[in-house]
């Protein structure tokens, strides 16, 4: 037995908004209640998947020799790419694909581009 996980609680609130509030209101409020329900789903998925995203970033930090916090590594890489200071090879592309797939899994796993990319790269 354990207490409610944060992601479970947020998902339950999201379902409540979608199932009970969206149908009960109209127009602007219904639209935004749907945006809110979706937003909470993103939060719930991030609570569960953030450690996997950070592990990907930390591994990339080691691979590409970037000494920074997990959430800074992508930005540092971006600056290297901007300056042409890193080779665009399969190792880099593999990381960018895995990282984007993980972020899509959090942000919107229903997106058609995500389904397509999963077929192609996993």
């Amino acid at each position: 037995m354990s207490e409610t996980k944060a992601s479970e609680l947020v998902m339950a609130i999201s379902d409540f908004l979608r199932d009970r509030i969206v149908p009960a209101v109209e127009g602007f409020n219904a639209y935004n209640a749907r945006v809110a329900a979706n937003g909470l789903k993103i939060v719930a998925r991030e609570l569960d998947l953030k450690p996997e995203l950070e592990a990907l970033d930390e591994q990339a930090g080691k691979t590409f020799g970037i000494n920074a916090q997990a959430d800074e590594i992508a930005m540092q890489l971006s600056l290297l790419i901007k300056d042409g200071a890193i080779e665009i090879d399969d190792t880099l592309l593999h990381y960018l694909r895995q990282r984007t797939l993980k972020r899509m899994e959090i942000d919107n796993p229903k997106y058609s581009g995500y389904r397509e990319a999963l077929k192609r790269w996993q």
């Binding site: 127009g27 937003g39 992508a74 694909r97 942000d107 990319a117």
Partner: protein, 350 residues
């Protein structure tokens, strides 16, 4: 949608001002002595940078459904979205009129507001019939026949837009080289902290793969499923001209194919309803010129990167307090769509 609360008295006052202003339009001048009245004025949408209203104009016995587009009350210029390079509304009105004169299906501009009318900056146009919601256009049985024709029609319509004489265009249209626009995108990426290696990779690729022999013409700039009114026979009107500019015609052809505007139908590249061949056939039937497929892909990648930057700048509007709506905060999480689409497009092309 109606943002904020609008008092009935405000609606009544605004309706009266509109009825007065409309009396000065060419349509009213052609029917001298007819009473002018405005009913059912209703705010359709509105953010920090644009208001859209629906209204019914009663001119004598005629009832004319209209749309009003104007800057949020009290503003004389749009704020915050400089990254998009939006047109001034009177320029947009002139452009819509010109497109209509050259056989492009558009609403009829009825009146451009002037300052003494006390209604702000904007214009009124006819409210055309048709469906604009992409999901309905892609799913409803009633549009089954239209879906077969839409991609070809889009090619034909874009061809006509691209053939508008440059000399006749209103002044105030952005006219930048691709290099200048890519520099602008780099500045946006840098301004927002350059947090996405994929968007940066996409921008580098766009720098290195510019298509040769590009032409120069009017580009609609936002021609996609969602900005077209559609009935059972296809397109009835092209909407949302505020991103029009001078540029390479293939930009519009790539834009309508961007995956984000296919609304889930990834296997139907043109707006989720058609294929590349239909679009290019339609285009060629009017212009006699068939754009190169790799150039279309180039502009599709450009559109994906643009979408990422739009998401980023909308999030920025939330962060800097210009527009504190939840939707603005949430759209920041759609940047990953742009990234996955760029990675798919660049696969095998790097």
């Amino acid at each position: 949608m109606s943002n904020g609360v609008i008092m009935t008295t405000d609606i009544d006052e605004m309706s009266e001002l509109l009825a007065l202003a409309l009396q000065r339009s060419d349509r009213a001048e052609a029917c001298i002595g007819q009473a002018s009245r405005v009913d059912k004025l209703k705010r359709l949408s509105g953010g920090a940078n644009m208001e859209t209203w629906a209204l019914d104009w009663q001119l004598g016995e005629q009832r004319i459904p209209l749309i009003l587009r104007r800057l949020p009350s009290g503003k004389s210029e749009s704020a915050g979205l400089d990254v998009f390079g939006q047109l001034e509304l009177p320029t947009e009105a002139k452009l819509v009129q010109l497109a209509g004169q050259h056989g492009v299906a558009v609403a009829d501009v009825v009146l451009v507001l002037s300052p003494e009318q006390d209604l702000g900056v904007g214009y009124l146009m006819t409210r055309e019939q048709g469906e604009a919601l992409p999901k309905r256009i892609l799913k409803d049985e009633k549009f089954a026949l239209a879906r077969q024709k839409l991609a070809g029609q889009c090619g034909e319509i874009l061809a006509r837009i691209h053939q508008l004489p440059l000399d006749d265009l209103p002044s105030g249209l952005s006219d930048r080289t691709v290099d200048q626009r890519l520099e602008g995108m780099q500045a946006s990426l840098d301004r927002y902290g350059n947090s996405s290696p994929v968007l940066q990779l996409g921008l580098n690729w766009l720098r290195e793969h510019q298509p040769g022999n590009s032409r120069r013409c009017l580009v609609h700039g936002d021609f996609r499923n969602g900005n077209l009114l559609v009935d059972e026979n296809g397109v009835t009107a092209v909407l949302d001209w505020e991103l029009a500019h001078i540029g390479d015609p293939v930009e519009d052809l790539g834009y309508i194919c961007a995956n984000v505007w296919r609304f889930g139908n990834i296997d139907k590249p043109v707006g989720g309803f058609g294929d590349y061949r239909q679009l290019l056939d339609g285009y060629e039937s009017v212009t006699g010129y068939r754009p190169d497929m790799e150039a279309v892909i180039y502009w599709e990648a450009y559109a994906a990167l643009s979408w990422g930057l739009v998401c980023q700048s909308m999030l920025e509007m939330y962060r800097n307090g210009l527009d504190r709506s939840m939707e603005r905060a949430a759209i920041g999480r759609r940047m990953s769509e742009a990234e996955i689409d760029l990675l798919l497009l660049l696969d095998g092309r790097l």
